[in-house]
Structure formats: C-alpha cells, structure tokens
C-alpha cells in the first residue's frame, strides 16, 4: 500500500510539474534560510556553554550613575579583585585578568629570521584556570603562572612560534624590548566560541600595576571573575555587595559607583558591557534573525497550502474512488500528509546543497573564523527532523483535511466545486498574510539602507578622506624620534599634513575625566572627553575654529581648545566668552586657559550624542600619527611612510589603518543587518511571488470557462486581464495596510538606537506599496494574459 501511494504521489508531482517546481523551489529556499539561521544562532548561543561550571561563574562589572544616566563598563578597578577575594566568602575562587599588548620577539635558533609581531597578551591569575577548565599540555597553572616573567602559550601559538609545542617549554620571549619571559606552560586552545581569545598568557605577577590602589580609575582591560560556591544563589550576593561598595568607595565623587555580578552566559550577549573579543551579539538581534527565519518558513508554507488546496479539485475523483473502494478518511489524511512530507524531504535535499554553497559567504559576512559544516553536529539532524515534521503539518494538514472530506458521490461525478475545496476566503487570508510579511520586509530594508546611506554621507564635522592613522610606540626613547620622523615624512611628496595625537576625532577609545571650570569650587556634573594632540590637529583633520586661536606648540599641557558642546553644557552662550577662562582636570591638576573653541564634530558613532571635549598637547599620551595624504598618490605614499617608519622604529611593528575604514568598522553590525535584510527580503519576495504566480495560474485554469464565456460575449483580452488583476490588487492593498503599522513599530524602534538618524517618511511605505503592486501586476498579467488569450472553444466543449 505504501509503495503504491508513493508511486501515485510521485506521478502526481510529475503530472503537475509546474506547481511541484514552485513548491520545491519555494520550500528549498525557505528551508535553506532556516538552516543557515539555525547554524548561526546555534554558534552564537554556544558561547561559553562548554564551561563545566558555567552556572556558577560570574564576571564582576562596574557602572556609574550620573545625573544624565548610567554608564556601564566590563572593567573593574585593579584593587577590587584582591578586596573581593578578601571580603566575599560566597566565592570559591576569584581571578583577575588584565589585557595588554605589545611587541613579541622570538629568536629563531635554527638560524632563520626572528619572529617579531604585535600581539594582544593577557595577564592572568592562576586561579582563572580553576574557574575555567582548560586542559594543560605542559605545566600546571599554579606553578606556570606563579612568578613574574613567566609566559604560557596556547597550543597553536606555541606551534606558530616554535614549530612544535614541546620545543616551546623553557624558551624565552622578549616583550616590548624590555624583558624576557620564560615559557612555562602550554594549554589547549580556547574554543572559538569562548569569550576568551587567550593565546599568550603572562603571569599576573608580571603586571606592572598589579598592586594598584586607585579605586577611582577603571579600564575595560581589567576584568574580574568569580566562582560562586555550590548551592548559593546570585541573590545571596546582594547584601555583601552593598556592604562591599560602602566599605571601599568612601571618597566623594560626582557619580555613584556600582558593581554587578554578571552571569557568564550574558558575557557574549549583553551589549552594555564589552568582552575580550570585543564582540557582543544581543539577544534582540538573534531574536530578529529567528523571526526572519520563521517568516521565510511561513511564506513557503503558505505557498504550499495555497497551491495544494487549489489543486485539490483535480484530485477529487481519486478521493471519491478511494473512498468507494473502502478507504477511510484517516488513511487519506495520512496519504496526503506523506505526500507533503515527500515534497519537504526533496526540498530539504536541495536546501542542504544551497546551504553548503552559501555558508562561506555567511562566514565572511559575519567575520567568524570558524568553518561551519552542515553535518558536523548531530543536532542539525534533530533540527531537520523537526523542520520536516512541522512543515509537513503546517503545510499539509489543511489541504489533507479538505481533500479527504470530499463526498464520494459528488467527487466521482466531478461535481466538486471550488467552493467546497477549501474556501477561497482562507486562501485570500493566507495571500494577504504573505504579502504583509513581504511588505514589512521591504519597508524595513528600505529604512535600514537609507539610514546606512545617511550615516555614510552625513558630515562628521571633520575630514576623513585619505587620512591614515599610523601607530607610534610610546616609550621615552621612541618619543625622541617623533619630531625627526614627522619632518622626514613631510618631505615625502603626497603627504599634506601630519598630526601627533592620542586618537582621531572619532574613535572607539574615549577617555573621560572630571574637571572644574572657571574656578568653580565643585567638580562639574558631566565628565570631560579629552583628546591629546599637537598644534597640527586642526589643520590635518580640517576642524573649524569658531573663536579664539589654535594651540601653540608644546610638549606638555599648556592650554585648551574646547568644543561647542562643552560650552552648551556649561551654559556659556557666546563662544568668545569662554576664551581665557580656566579649566583644571581631575583632582589637583594645574589650571590652564581656554584659547580656542572648535565647531562640534561627531566624536562617537551616530548612536551617541557629541560629548563635551577638550583638546590639549601632551606628548606622553600620543599613540598615533594622523597622516593626511594626497588622494591620488595615497597608495605609493603609504608604502614610503612604512619604510620611513620601520627605519625609525626598527624594534616595533608598523600598523596603519585608514580613518574611513576605521569609521566603517563602527557600523559593522548595522552593515551586516543591512545585508541580511536585503538578502532575506529578496528571498521572501521571491518566494511570495512564485507562490502568487502559482495561485494565479490555478485561478486562471479554474476560471477558463468563465473567461471563455466572457470572451464570446465580447470581452477583450485586456478587459479579462483587468478582471483577474482586480482581486489580487485588493489583497495587496489590504496587506500593505496591515503591514504599515507593524513595520512602523519595528523601524522606529531600530532607528531610536541612533541619535543621528533619518526621519521616518512616508516614502518607504509608499515604495513598498508601489513595488508590491507592480510586481503583482506583472505576475498576474503574465499568467492571465495567457489564460485570456486561449481559444474559448477548448473550454466550452460539452461538459
């Protein structure tokens, strides 16, 4: 029986090749989208999940509550960790980690070239490895990280530096040309889905500031982890935490200090805090992606339901005969459901091929260094099984119920009308739902793309073109070479200007500090964003001076330039009034005069407002050279710059990045979002419209008789095409009306994340409407033209 049914199913699929193709194409694409999204979500959700004690691991994070809001950071003051170890009996283990970075030099003993490279390193307390389980190939963390000048390597890094991890033990690595570190251990690589990209781990004892006492100073390079004792709940920490904060924060400060214990599972997902991978993926984004996947699946299923119910009549005779032969309704339902499952299975096959083809594209889009494969993990089969079952039921159950319910007497006489074969009403609702999904995605895509364009084109208030940021080493010996190098580089043709600075006007690294203005007794309520730069900063970045003068040449803090925003927060109406007023930084620093006011420029992404900024000279803080070049000679110039740089700093590693690229990187997530929306909106539109084509084909076939009658009554082809279009256009219009409020809510929520954003105009909405109307017109007209053009006699033969 099963084999017979299978044969009939296959024959039926073959007989209606067109509909089958539409179903399979739609479902394959939908399923492929789901598989891709599943693989991605699974990877993102797998972060730190392999940690044995993950439920008990917490990261301690900080926040400050200012009058204007709460600011969060993943860092903690350096003395907090020892204090926490002392004060919290609730924690079994506490460990500090501090991120550093510098030049590593590894001598090649076989006579080859030495390895010299810039590398992120981590100072880690041995307790860390009691909290996180990592297998050690050689050495034990308690010993290997116990003393200063000890370094341990991950397996891959050890192989990279020494050829073989066994060779690494006992060798020495020179760090920043200052000290030699002895390799005392090798551990297995941290997995790619771990929040800890540890490759080179120094003993915490080697960290210069390990006994730091400054509670008021925090960087997100210092983090602390704790392992909660078994049986305790996070709520048990509330009271001791409050006591802890009261005990250690005794000094008066403009902000209220706070700490939280963040569960390990949140480290990869809470966008308020950073992590050592500098990449968080908020649950919101993951949910968004999941919803898109669901949309894909639903549109594909709707196609299926529509086409299957549409086709039902042509199978009514089979149903009638089977019933007369003694088939029960349940058996028919099972038969139709297994046909759906068969189609789903075929589609899944195609979907797998499609997924494998698209995976490399996804990897490069998401910038993940993991190579995914469809079948590496068994859980994908479970997911596929769930997909098949749910799609078969979602898509197949309704048509199966309809078809199996035909009365055999009518069915055999071919008297099943379209009305009894599953109401046209339901089909209409489904089409409207499908169009509404499509319209929401079109609108969202248009808005996301527009906002991205806006951000690309909106002026930041300074030049970004053809400016390269080149790192400079910060030791005292190198500082002496700044000026000579600058002079030499300025000689190069194609170099316009060079400024030594701590950071570009826009930068992800922002330093803030408390300050006093105009000898007022109290610190100001807001924090001051400081940028250290020489007198060439204005010219290099083409910043506009609106009052006063530029900084004069100096190696140390001598005078300030401030931005308009600072004056606004201080309540100074006229910029020239601020000239000559005094500012003092932090606690007890000397007073200096304001000499200039610059026009506001965006110092952070468009997601944030412009901060109050002060610019001043301080040679010790310079970290980069901003080189403004001639656009045409950029590529040749940058090569020469590199040569000069290497000659000046032979022991360091040259790093340069164009400011434009740098800025683009701030919007990586948004760009990925944009690409995803474009792709998935395209896919959903495609699926919807092949479905529409199928449905129109069916309706045209069903209405052949009516069309023929109308034709002999004198209707022209054009009039018939119009007639067939009318009902679909109504559906599209209704769908758009349904979609608009949904899209509005979604889009305005997304745009609210930006301080500088486009206004929501009616245009994306109109565009979505026009686009869907036009596509519908084309689809329906194509098919109905053919129907209207057939010879009526074929339809009007005796019945």
């Amino acid at each position: 029986m099963f084999r017979l049914n299978l044969k009939i199913a296959l024959r039926n699929l073959w007989k209606y090749k067109g509909y089958t193709a539409i179903n399979i194409v739609g479902l394959s694409i939908g399923l492929a989208g789901c598989l891709l999204i599943f693989i991605f979500l699974k990877f993102q959700l797998s972060f730190d999940k392999s940690e044995e004690k993950r439920d008990r691991i917490y990261r301690v994070v900080s926040s400050w509550v200012y009058p204007e809001g709460e600011f969060f950071t993943s860092g903690v003051p350096i003395p907090l960790i020892p204090a926490m170890r002392n004060d919290f009996s609730e924690f079994e283990k506490v460990a500090a980690v501090h991120q550093g970075g510098g030049i590593l030099k590894i001598r090649n003993e076989e006579g080859g070239a030495d390895i010299k490279l810039k590398q992120d390193i981590f100072y880690v307390e041995p307790q860390f490895f009691e909290i996180f389980k990592i297998e050690w190939l050689s050495g034990k963390p308690e010993q290997a990280l116990s003393q200063p000048n000890m370094v341990t390597l991950s397996e891959k890094t050890a192989v990279k530096y020494f050829g073989n991890w066994r060779n690494a033990i006992g060798k020495s690595i020179r760090y920043d040309n200052k000290a030699d570190y002895k390799v005392t251990g090798v551990f297995k690589d941290f997995p790619e889905n771990s929040s800890f990209p540890f490759k080179v781990v120094f003993s915490y004892a080697s960290f210069d500031d390990k006994f730091g006492k400054e509670w008021g100073w925090v960087t997100n390079r210092s983090e602390g982890y704790g392992l909660l004792k078994e049986g305790l709940k996070p709520a048990d920490l509330d009271k001791p935490l409050k006591q802890f904060i009261d005990k250690h924060y005794t000094e008066k400060s403009p902000a209220k200090e706070k700490h939280y214990f963040q569960p390990l599972s949140e480290v990869h997902h809470d966008a308020r805090y950073s992590n050592f991978r500098y990449k968080t993926v908020a649950y919101k984004e993951l949910i968004g992606l999941g919803v898109i996947g669901l949309f894909l699946l639903i549109t594909a299923c709707i196609n299926f339901v529509n086409l299957a119910t549409a086709q039902a009549i042509s199978r009514s005779k089979e149903v009638g005969i089977r019933k007369v032969m003694g088939s029960r309704r349940k058996q028919l339902i099972v038969q139709f459901l297994s046909e759906t499952a068969l189609i789903t299975l075929i589609s899944l096959g195609f979907a797998c091929v499609l997924t494998e083809l698209v995976i490399p594209k996804m990897e490069s889009l998401m910038e993940i260094n993991v190579s995914f494969h469809l079948f590496t993990e068994p859980v994908i089969f479970v997911f596929m099984f769930i997909l098949i079952v749910s799609v078969s039921f979602l898509a197949g159950l309704y048509p199966a119920l309809i078809m199996s319910g035909f009365s055999p007497a009518l069915a055999i006489k071919n008297k099943i009308s379209s009305a009894s074969a599953g109401g046209l009403g339901l089909r209409k609702v489904l089409v409207v739902a499908q169009f509404a999904i499509t319209a929401v995605l079109i609108i969202a895509t248009l808005v996301v793309v527009r906002q991205m364009e806006y951000m690309r084109e909106k002026s930041l208030g300074f030049d970004t073109k053809a400016i390269s940021m080149v790192n400079i080493p910060g030791d005292s010996l190198s500082r002496l070479k700044y000026e000579p190098l600058r002079e030499r580089l300025l000689q190069l043709p194609g170099v316009h200007d060079i400024s030594l600075t701590s950071a570009a006007p826009i930068s992800s690294g922002n330093r803030t500090i408390s300050f006093k203005y105009d000898r007022r007794p109290e610190d100001e309520k807001t924090q001051l964003n400081i940028k250290m730069a020489d007198e060439n900063y204005l010219k290099t970045f083409n910043l506009e001076l609106i009052a006063g003068r530029n900084l004069s040449k100096s190696d140390t803090l001598k005078e300030f330039m401030v931005n308009e925003q600072l004056l606004k927060t201080l309540g100074v109406a006229n910029p020239s009034d601020a000239i000559g007023k005094m500012i003092s930084l932090g606690d007890g620093g000397g007073e200096r005069k304001i000499v200039g006011v610059v026009k506001d420029f965006n110092n952070m992404t468009f997601k944030s407002t412009i901060s109050p900024i002060a610019i001043f000279s301080d040679k010790h803080a310079y970290a980069a050279m901003a080189i403004k070049m001639d656009v045409k000679e950029m590529m040749t110039t940058i090569k020469k710059v590199e040569q000069e740089w290497n000659a000046a700093f032979p022991d360091d590693v040259y790093e340069a990045q164009f400011l434009d690229d740098n800025i683009q990187n701030f919007y990586k997530t948004e760009q990925v979002m944009g690409v995803l929306f474009k792709v998935f909106a395209g896919v959903v539109i495609f699926i919807s419209f092949i479905g529409l084509f199928g449905l129109v084909s069916f309706i045209a076939t069903q209405k052949t008789r009516e069309i023929a009658i109308r034709k002999v009554l004198g209707a022209s082809t054009l009039e018939l095409v119009k007639m067939l279009n009318r009902s679909f256009l109504w559906m599209v219009l209704i769908a758009n009306l349904v979609a608009w409020p949904l899209a509005y809510i979604f889009v305005s929520k997304w745009l609210n994340g930006f301080v500088y954003r486009i206004d929501i105009s009616i245009w994306p909405f109109m565009m979505a409407m026009v686009l869907s109307v036009v596509i519908t017109l084309i689809t329906v007209s194509l098919r109905s033209y053919k129907a209207a053009n057939t010879n009526p006699i074929d339809a009007l033969k005796y019945e």
């Binding site: 009308s417 008789r705 009516e706 023929a708 009658i709 109308r710 034709k711 002999v712 009554l713 004198g714 209707a715 022209s716 082809t717 009039e719 010879n791 009526p792 006699i793 009007l796 005796y798 019945e799």
Partner: protein
C-alpha cells in the same frame, strides 16, 4: 450574410490527416433559420464553431457580412461578437457567480452600453421572458430550461443579427425544449434574426426553414423546408 467556400478542417496526427470537414460550401442569408443535422462525429459542432469564429478552418474562405473572417484580427472579431453574434450553448454556460440579471447584463458591459440603457434593456428582456421574479437568483437555483432561457436572453440582449446555438435543447426535457424552439421561431419570424442551430432532433429541425445534413464532414443534403413538406 454568410458565405462559405470550400471549407476544410483536418487534424494532422503523425502524418495521418483526420478530416472533420471537407469541401463545405454554402451561403446563408439574413433571416434564415438553419438546422445543422447529422450523426455524432459528422462535424456539426466544428462547422458551427467555424461559423462562430471560435475555430479557424484549415482551408477555405469564410465571409461574414461581406468581410473575410479568416484573416480577421482579434479586435475586429470581438467587435463582431459584441454587435452581431449571440451564442447559445447546450450546457448553458452561465457564469455561476452572477445572478440572472447580471448574467444578462454582462454582454452589454462589454458593448459599453450606458448604465441606464443597460438597466432598461435587461428589464425589457426579463419581462419578455417572464423572469422578473427570478432576476436575483443564481444559475444553480434554476431548472435547466430556465437556465437556457437565461442563456438565450443573454444572447439576445445585445440585439445580435445572428444566433448560433449548439444543441440548445440537448440537456432539456421535451416540454422545455419545445418552449425554446417556439421562442427561436418567434425571434426568427418577428425580428428577422438569423438562427443557426446544431441539433439531433427532427422535431427541432422542423421549426427551421432549412436543414443542412452533414455526414463525415461533407454536406450530403441541403433542404429548404418547403421541399420537406
């Protein structure tokens, strides 16, 4: 009104030609009531379809009101449908989703008749066919005879000069069939409408003025009814 010269129709299948019509030549004048008769498969319906321009002959010339129809483009043909030809089918072919009145009104819509005139003409026809009470019913609420009446009313409402009827009573019982044939005769005599019908029934054919007997695609007999009597 209608001139057929040497009309041939065949289907070629794997090199074998199967003829439906051979050397059919005849002319039909305005006001004639012609019945096409013959056994099944003789080509009656094909001939009627060719006359109604629903099929094209393989060879031969066909003039309708002095116009060569074979080379007519679609727009001209539609014009002829709108203004001169009314069809009546064996299976009635009413549009199921429309009421009686709407079905009758449909051809007028395509003729771009004004709304007021449409209303009066439909009312007129309903009145004439005694169907005013049924005007808001749907086709499936009517008997076969009533449906065919609607079909004829629909063919008439556009005031055609010729009605082509393919076994108009084939699905009806005889009292109803007689009623339909009486109606045709009346239309033919009183309004001088040309009627061409395909029929199996001698009785029905007797209402007409002329009979074309087809056998295997060839006109065997062309009788004027006076000769029969």
């Amino acid at each position: 009104m209608i001139e057929l010269k040497n009309i041939e129709k065949y289907y070629a299948n794997k090199g074998v030609k199967s003829y439906i019509l051979r050397h059919v030549s005849t002319s039909i004048k305005q006001g004639e009531f012609v019945s096409i008769m013959g056994p099944s498969g003789a080509g009656k319906s094909t001939l009627l379809n060719i006359l109604g321009m629903l099929e094209e002959p393989t060879y031969g010339a066909y003039e309708f009101m002095g116009e060569d129809v074979v080379s007519l483009n679609e727009r001209k043909r539609i014009e002829l449908y709108r203004n001169h030809i009314g069809f009546v089918f064996q299976a009635y072919h009413l549009i199921d989703e429309m009421t009686v009145a709407e079905n009758i009104e449909a051809p007028l819509l395509y003729k771009k008749v004004s709304s007021a005139e449409r209303k009066s003409r439909v009312a007129d026809v309903l009145d004439r066919f005694n169907m005013v009470a049924k005007k808001d019913l749907f086709p499936n609420q009517l008997s076969g005879g009533q449906q065919q009446l609607v079909g004829i009313a629909r063919a008439l409402v556009a005031q055609p000069s010729i009605i082509l009827a393919d076994e108009p009573t084939g699905n009806l019982q005889s009292p109803q069939a007689l009623q339909i044939m009486e109606l045709f005769k009346k239309l033919n005599e009183e309004e001088n409408i040309t009627i061409i019908q395909v029929t199996h029934s001698e009785v029905n054919a007797a209402y007409g003025s002329r009979i074309l007997h087809l056998l295997d695609g060839v006109i065997k007999e062309d009788l004027s009814l006076q000769q029969v009597i």
